[in-house]
Symmetry: C2
Subunit: 143 residues, 2 copies
């Protein structure tokens, strides 16, 4: 988990001003992987007091654009954020409770990046989402 100064360094490195909300949001994303905006807002407020809802949206967008966090949007879920960037990893999503876990792809660094027929598209990323049941929901499918 990065320290306050690590976080500041990350922000400055991305040419972003160091502000209370930004430090808090980036820290929250590191501490709560795959959290949605609302959870992050809660964590931020617990950390630094009142922060507007809009600020969190703005900060998350800025961090995403700067490549400091990654936004993921599994079907049927609101946007979630994670701090693991720049490594090719994917996600398993529980169909029942929505829990998300990281998965390193089995078939190499850029799995399936060559589609069989690309229709002339210039493909730059292959995103894989695994669907199934998490351990808890496997035991009690309809809690």
């Amino acid at each position: 988990m990065p320290t306050r100064s690590d976080v500041e360094r990350l922000l400055r490195g991305a040419a972003l001003r160091v502000t209370r909300p930004r430090v808090a949001v980036l820290t929250a994303v590191h501490e709560h992987p795959h959290a949605d905006t609302d959870s992050i807002l809660g964590a931020v407020r617990a950390d630094v007091g009142e922060v507007s809802h809009q600020a969190v949206y703005d900060v998350l967008r800025a961090l995403t654009a700067a490549g400091l966090v990654r936004r993921i949007e599994p079907a049927g879920s609101v946007a979630r954020y994670e701090s693991r960037v720049a490594d090719n990893h994917h996600h398993v999503v529980c169909r029942s409770c929505g829990a998300i876990a990281d998965v390193d792809c089995a078939v190499g660094y850029t799995p399936c990046l060559t589609a069989s027929h690309d229709h002339g598209y210039a493909i730059d990323e292959a995103e894989v989402t695994y669907w199934g049941l998490c351990p808890a929901c496997s035991i009690a499918p309809s809690s």
Copy 2:
């Protein structure tokens, strides 16, 4: 493209009542692959006259539950529907204009289905989304 009676057969085969809106929606999904709900509503109204927005949502849900259509939700897009079901295929999405094309996966019928470490999840599907630029947007990136 299925005929009216093909569509009726599909509906009956799924134990769904044959109604005007259902026939029209299922036909529209076949005719407009990857269309969003609103486009489908437009196509349906052009076909059979006034149909409520709610009916289209209901029908799409029923068809999806019955496995007659598949719902896809690329990040940053509204829900879209397609009639290709039961074959393992994936999608390329244009980052610029949102256009979607089908892609048969290069590495076999169920690509990457074995994640390197599944965290105890019971995985039943691997969904792959390729991101890039469609031919038109490759030429004029910021139209």
